[in-house]
Amino acid sequence: MYTKFITKFNVGTFVILLTVASSAIAQERIFSIGYGKALINNDSSTYTISIDLNRVPGSNEKGNGYFFVNERIDSTRWGYYAKPTADINLGSGTSAAPNNVSVGLAFGLAYDFKESKIGIASFCLEMSPDFVGDKTLRNSLKYLSLTPCFQVDNTWDGISIFLGAGFSYSLGKRSILDELDHAYSRTSVPVSMKLRAFNFAEGEKMRLHLSATYKFNKVFNDIEVNERSFDFFNVKTDFYLLKNLAVNFTYNCGFEEPLFKENNAFSFGVTLAR
């Protein structure tokens, strides 16, 4: 049992570290360390470290971070890209975050619309192998997801707003330690919003980043859950007091992969960025 666990843990750890290392090269938000509190049970005050690379939980951050490939197709408005994504939450508690390890490698096609009245818009069609695990990696999901999405961005003097919406279909397996793999499939509808406010009269010091994500999951095939429909909501803010230093607040509510256990928790802490 322990050999199997250690082998699985090492493989998982290697993949995670590889993704983190390649992503961290160009990551705006490197990591956050802080204190968390789950609101469902009265027992859980936790200390957390989160590493977010290219990802808002429940939705891919299409625009951020490190890319392996990002090319334009000749003189068309089509492009293609490949980039790693990761969202890793460590600490004394697992309840402040819906999942504890989430990594992927997204391959995408993008169509960049010309500027219009609605803003700067792009359409993306993304395929990604993903790994989503709990803290111990004893219960994890491995699947391939296909996600068409639409995103629009508007930037004015001192504020920018980004809206994204998509539809995702995933097909793969659930792995539980000491058990045979089980089939897993789901669809989800992620909707995300990001707001950035900044005051360049103060240099680059004063910035506020706020992101909110709503995700509806419809699980078709999974041994782990009896329910089939799950909602998840996440709000994350970073208020930059210095160029590389911010205080942050995160709130998670709802049910999310891999365990789909009820989550209702907040955490706050310090963000180190670059």
Partner: protein, 84 residues
């Protein structure tokens, strides 16, 4: 390609991918004022469309790290066209 040509071209691409006109874009201002980070990958592809010699993947990743201001992007493209 001289610096003025590169400057005009880069500012034109930024204007095409933002709510700002060419006249409103200042070289000394942070790029974030005109292009949000979610659109930087798109900006790199658009710069490649205008300046064929630019290596998109290098530009994309530097847009998130070293290229902070409009003038940094201009310098990046200018150096590509004027490497010894």
């Amino acid at each position: 390609m001289n610096l003025n040509q590169v400057t005009d071209g880069v500012i034109e691409v930024i204007a095409m991918n933002s709510r700002f006109t060419k006249d409103e874009i200042e070289q000394n201002k942070p790029l974030d004022k005109y292009i949000s980070s979610d659109m930087k990958a798109r900006l790199a592809r658009e710069v490649k469309g205008k300046f064929q010699k630019v290596k998109t993947i290098k530009l994309t990743n530097e847009l998130f790290v070293t290229i902070k201001k409009v003038k940094d992007l201009i310098q990046h493209v200018y150096q590509v066209y004027n490497e010894v």
